[in-house]
Amino acid sequence: MTERKDNRDDSFLPLDGQDDDALGLFFAAARAEPPQLGGDFLARIEAQALAEQPRSAAPIPVLPSRRPGRLAQLREALGGWVGVTGLATACAAGILIGISSPDSLSVFWGGDAAGLGTLGVDPLSGFDLALMEG
């Protein structure tokens, strides 16, 4: 195969080096007179590019609507935080009453006259015992 002038393996040659033949001036003229873009065309291309652009690489995730947890459901059933607070107070008072000796609670009944000791509260009185034993 005959070695041709334009078969050089010189990859990228703009052109000064390869235009030294009969066509060189024509190619040089073509490069010097590139087709001119209209300004509106560039604007159109840019608008198209923006219109086609993916909105964001990391789109804002849409969180699935979550069902409230069991504790939240219970809180809502009790009337919210206010209800829960009231219930907790009542429980604490109940425990206090339960573990206190009856005499120590006399203050709440309004004096000794109404004290549990005075009233003789007996959970298992002699009468009841006799009744149970027949």
Binding site: D21, A32, P34, L42, I45, E46, Q53, S56, A57
Partner: protein
């Protein structure tokens, strides 16, 4: 990325930024690629501005849509674009040829090349374009890519999906045909004046 830094960034990096939603990358890519695509389309299509704009718009639209799935390192953005542009042009040339006699296609505006000083260059460019239009599409594409766009043979081979030797052959045949078409116009275009 700042706009100035983007101007120096590689096409591939800009395309990744574009796919990530960076509007500045869209602008820089447009300014960088649209003139090249349009210019190549104009030369392939014999100076038909409206058709060249259509082709450039379509080629770039395909690039924007390919951006999210672009695989780095597989092909240069410009190589891919030249290929898409040339294929779109060749489709149009063939369609045009099927519907219309090539001889009946009007010459581009400003034909009448003037040999007057200062207009010689333009006249030569137009004469070359007229001669390029007579070449088969693949020869025309190879000559434009090599001698006007200034691309290396391996890249032209990739764009045209052929081997480098086939590129050389197409360019050589194309240049012979151009020489034959233009040789008679050298005096008319003031060729001797530049010697």
């Amino acid at each position: 990325m700042p706009f100035e830094a983007m101007s120096a960034a590689a096409d591939e990096d800009l395309l990744a930024d574009y796919a990530a939603g960076d509007a500045s990358a869209a602008r820089v890519l447009t300014q960088r690629l649209a003139p090249r695509v349009f210019s190549h389309a104009m030369r392939m299509l014999g100076g038909d501005r409206a058709e060249a704009e259509d082709v450039a718009q379509e080629a770039l639209l395909r690039l924007w849509r390919a951006a999210p799935g672009w695989r780095r390192g597989e092909a240069k953005v410009s190589t891919w674009l030249y290929r898409v542009t040339a294929n779109l042009c060749i489709d149009r040339i063939r369609r045009r040829r099927g519907g219309t006699d090539l001889d009946s296609v009007p010459e581009p505006v400003d034909e009448a090349p003037s040999a007057a000083e200062g207009l010689q260059q333009r006249a030569r460019a137009e004469a070359l374009q007229g001669a390029l239009d007579t070449l088969p599409e693949r020869q025309r594409q190879a000559v434009i890519l090599r001698h006007i766009e200034g691309l290396p043979n391996p890249e032209i081979a990739e764009i045209m999906d052929i081997g480098p030797r086939a590129v050389e052959s197409l360019v050589a045949r194309g240049k012979r045909a151009l020489e034959a078409a233009l040789i008679g116009r050298r005096a008319e275009l003031g060729y001797e004046d530049d010697d």
